[in-house]
């Protein structure tokens, strides 16, 4: 995006010094080791994949609303051979790749990669990450993943179609699925690269947060965003090796027939499968040992960002900062002993299922505590209804629904009925779209001024919020009712069953809402790109916020701060009686004679 712009703006300079630009351009914008550039690289890459993942979802919606009917325009381009209609193989690929792209190429890298990179050094008062080169690599290692996954769409048999969970034997036995050819192998390899990238980021974030905090920035003065990023990094570090090991086992099963996941005596398409002695459930245990914590990897940073936004626009300290920190830690700890709740119906020992049921129900507790604290933060404040605030409040509103619906599936007997139905689809989208994606939108509107030194348009931001909010609920709230009807996931044509035939009309309604939700993102895209170049310029601290990133210039130059910041207090001192302003930045020294203690503490850390 910036490549055509640069020769243009440097046209005069280039004439004078012709040798410089290419190498310098590459070092500044492409292979940059500056955390802010890397963060923006992650941001734009993941937003591009967000479009891909969204289009895949809309194609899924088309089939569920108008099964086997020719798709207008797109159908003619993609599958004119099949009468413009989606084939069952293609449908299976669509939902597999929708989830894969959204989880591994959008949500995880946009939170940790984009916001983590951009915000961590700025918010803790560091000039960059602890390991800038490793940081650069963490972005560039995503590219093999991007490339492999893109190629997989075009290999014979198409991209992976074994579900984003990649359950064997379907994902391993070559005869089982047309797309169990190169597509699935490329899927495995791409996820390995995503894992390497995440691990590089994780090591870097942990080190940076522990080692590089500004003088006076104690752990309990960190903004919640940083706590979210920190705990996420810890989760990645402990859970990822398990996924990587499992992926290599699947790779070996696929390529050299090791049979880790293949039991004795498998017969596929009337042909025996040679390997044996393995267990399909082993994959599920390993996969969910990562992928349940991954649910928290996909929401804790957003929870942190929302906490910061809510406190800022309520002009009031975050209620219960320490309980908030402890509940994040509680979620992370419990998150490692609940993976079995994805396997209640899998054939796992039912007594073990009961154990996982108890731990899973208890993990609702820290989430409840967080919600109460957000509400109590609003209580008694002076709320400013800006676009980031609206998205942050909608995060709370939607997360309540997503959190509460989780209790249904945590309750094992209810899960018998709703497992693998649209109730689960509703739940995950309330957590990850109504929750994380709305949190991310809020974060973009909130930190955009810091990223680009300009403001986004508030009016169009609010229009984007309003329409997204309405269409989102139209799409996903209705899915709870589908789930109550037992409507199963992943069926290309559920109306085949008399039990589900009456749900067609509701599915058409959902599809119209989903199309609307997709369409209104164009407003966001236009606002984003217009504002990058034409938005009104802003100062360092347009929102009158407290945390350290607002001390740096907008956008911050290399090295971030003009002088080394010193931290005197926590990040949530809004409307403090100690000052006449309604905010009291972390870097502002207390008036002479007051706050000796905190000043002394700051010195001590220096």
């Amino acid at each position: 995006m910036s490549s055509p712009a640069v020769p243009h703006t440097h046209a005069g300079a280039a004439a004078a010094a012709p040798a410089m630009p290419v190498a310098k351009f590459l070092a500044t914008y492409v292979f940059s080791r500056d955390h802010k550039v890397i963060g923006l690289q992650f941001l734009f890459s993941t937003l591009l994949w967000f479009i891909v993942g969204g289009l895949l979802a809309l194609a899924v919606r088309w089939q569920l609303a108008f099964p086997w009917q020719g798709m207008p325009i797109v159908g003619r381009l993609l599958f004119s051979a099949e009468g413009n209609q989606i084939s069952p193989e293609f449908y299976t690929m669509l939902f597999t790749m929708h989830a894969t792209v959204m989880i591994f190429f959008v949500i995880i890298p946009i939170l940790a990669g984009a916001f983590g990179n951009f915000l961590i050094p700025l918010m803790i008062g560091a000039d960059d990450m602890a390991f800038p080169t490793l940081n650069m690599l963490s972005y560039w290692v995503m590219w093999p993943a991007f490339v492999l996954m893109t190629i997989s769409f075009f290999v014979p048999g198409g991209a992976s179609a074994a579900g984003w969970t990649g359950y064997p034997p379907l994902s391993v036995a070559h005869g089982a699925a047309p797309a169990s050819q190169a597509g699935q192998t490329l899927w495995v390899l791409a996820l390995v690269f995503v894992g390497i990238s995440s691990m590089m980021g994780s090591v870097n974030y942990m080190t940076t947060i522990i080692q590089m905090r500004a003088p006076g920035m104690t752990m309990f003065r960190l903004p919640m965003t940083i706590w979210g990023m920190f705990i996420t990094a810890v989760l990645q570090a402990f859970a990822l090796p398990v996924l990587t090991a499992a992926l290599f086992m699947q790779l070996l099963d696929r390529t050299v027939r090791t049979g880790f996941f293949i039991p004795e005596g498998l017969v596929i398409n009337n042909e025996g499968v040679a390997a044996g002695g393995g267990q399909p459930l082993l994959w599920q245990h390993l996969f969910w040992f990562y992928s349940h914590p991954a649910v928290y990897i996909m929401i804790l940073p957003a929870m942190g960002m929302v906490s910061d936004i809510i406190s800022c626009f309520a002009r009031k300290p975050l209620f219960g900062y320490k309980p908030m920190v402890y509940s994040i830690c509680g979620i992370a700890g419990l998150g490692f002993i609940v993976w079995g709740h994805h396997m209640f119906m899998s054939g796992m020992n039912p007594a073990l299922g009961a154990m996982f049921m108890v731990s899973t129900i208890m993990i609702a507790l820290p989430s409840a505590v967080k919600t109460f604290n957000w509400l109590a933060t609003l209580w008694g404040g002076k709320i400013q209804f800006t676009t980031p605030m609206l998205f942050a409040m909608s995060f709370v509103s939607m997360f309540i629904i997503g959190g509460l619906s989780g209790i249904f599936m945590a309750a094992t007997p209810i899960d018998i009925f709703i497992h693998d139905t649209y109730f689960i689809v509703a739940h995950i989208h309330y957590v990850l779209f109504g929750g994380t994606a709305f949190g991310v939108f809020g974060g973009i509107y909130f930190w955009f001024p810091k990223m680009f030194g300009r403001m986004m348009n508030e009016f169009w931001g609010k229009v984007h919020f309003l329409l997204s909010f309405i269409f989102f609920n139209g799409t996903f709230f209705t899915m709870h009712l589908l789930g109550a009807g037992g409507f199963p996931r992943r069926l290309a044509d559920p109306y085949h069953y008399a039990t589900f035939r009456h749900l067609l009309g509701m599915n058409q309604f959902i599809t119209y809402c989903a199309l609307g939700m997709g369409a209104v993102q164009i407003i966001f895209a236009i606002n984003l790109f217009y504002s990058i170049f034409r938005g009104p310029r802003c100062g360092r601290n347009p929102w009158h916020a407290n945390s350290l990133e607002w001390l740096a210039p907008s956008p911050p130059g290399h090295g971030n701060f003009d002088v080394q910041p010193v931290v005197y207090r926590g990040p949530y001192e809004y409307s403090s009686p100690e000052t006449t302003e309604d905010y009291y930045p972390q870097w502002q020294p207390p008036p002479a004679g007051q706050g000796e203690a905190s000043h002394a503490q700051a010195q001590q850390h220096a």
Binding site: V267, A368, I407, A484, Y497
Partner: protein
């Protein structure tokens, strides 16, 4: 304009409750339950729905009300400068904790009934899932499997009404899931494992047998039928099927190879 956003947040609990109030009457609800144990599951569904519904309404209303009341344009009170309250935190940690523990314990019995307390009856049928059909085998007249008089059918599961039914679930190739929506039964079929499934049907009739675990491109069409019939009708059907199979023994053997 600020009040408009508050009302938008108020619409969430209002429309949410309205949707759930409207749906059952409009036919968008749990399918008819014909099983003996299903009421326990449905009861828990309603129990959790009531509980979460109450929390949903209370918290969403609080969000609306705080937004309305503490709107920075109209709220002339000074901001309540507080960092939290130990007592309140303890209260809203312990109260949900107690409720959650109660929910956890309350449902154990239903889970044990459906998945752990296997009835002491002989296996009625063996169901083997494969891409993309359900192969069903009855032990035949001698009551034993793996004998010559085993009765084979495809996608057509018959069971007698008001009896404890015990089925052995297997898979020949990939994962599948044996889902009887009207009996509130779901169990994955896993290659290499024999998993017992039991239920008791109260009403006669024909019901869908759904595959609920992705098993490949033809997953959507892996449809079976469950026929619940009186004991005598069931025996008659079994005898007729066995006789028909006897008459066409040769092709049947070929087909199953």
């Amino acid at each position: 304009m600020n009040k408009f956003w508050c009302l938008l947040f108020l619409a969430v609990p209002v429309l949410g409750v309205a949707a759930f109030a409207w749906a059952p009457g409009a036919g968008y609800w749990l399918p008819r339950d014909i099983s003996d144990h299903g009421w326990q599951i449905d009861h828990l569904f309603y129990f959790v729905l009531t509980l979460t519904g109450a929390v949903f309404v209370a918290t969403e209303l609080a969000l609306f009300w705080f937004a309305w009341k503490y709107d920075g344009r109209t709220n002339m009170q000074p901001v309540r400068f507080t960092h939290g309250s130990h007592d309140v935190e303890v209260l809203w940690t312990l109260a949900p904790a107690a409720t959650l523990v109660f929910i956890a314990i309350y449902q154990m019995n239903a889970w044990a009934d459906v998945k752990m307390r296997q009835p002491d009856v002989p296996v009625l049928a063996e169901v083997t899932a494969r891409q993309f059909e359900w192969r069903i085998r009855y032990p035949g007249a001698d009551g034993r499997f793996d004998t010559l008089d085993d009765v084979h059918v495809v996608n057509d599961l018959h069971v007698p009404v008001d009896r404890d039914i015990l089925i052995t679930l297997k898979s020949q190739d990939v994962l599948h899931s044996f889902f009887l929506p009207n009996l509130r039964i779901k169990q994955d079929a896993v290659p290499g494992m024999k998993i017992p499934v039991w239920f008791r049907a109260r009403d006669v009739g024909e019901f869908d047998l759904v595959c609920a675990e992705l098993c490949g491109w033809g997953h959507y069409k892996m449809k079976g039928r469950l026929t619940v019939q009186s004991a005598s009708a069931f025996q008659q059907w079994l005898a007729e099927t066995a006789a028909a199979q006897e008459a066409t023994q040769e092709p049947e053997v070929e087909e199953s190879e």
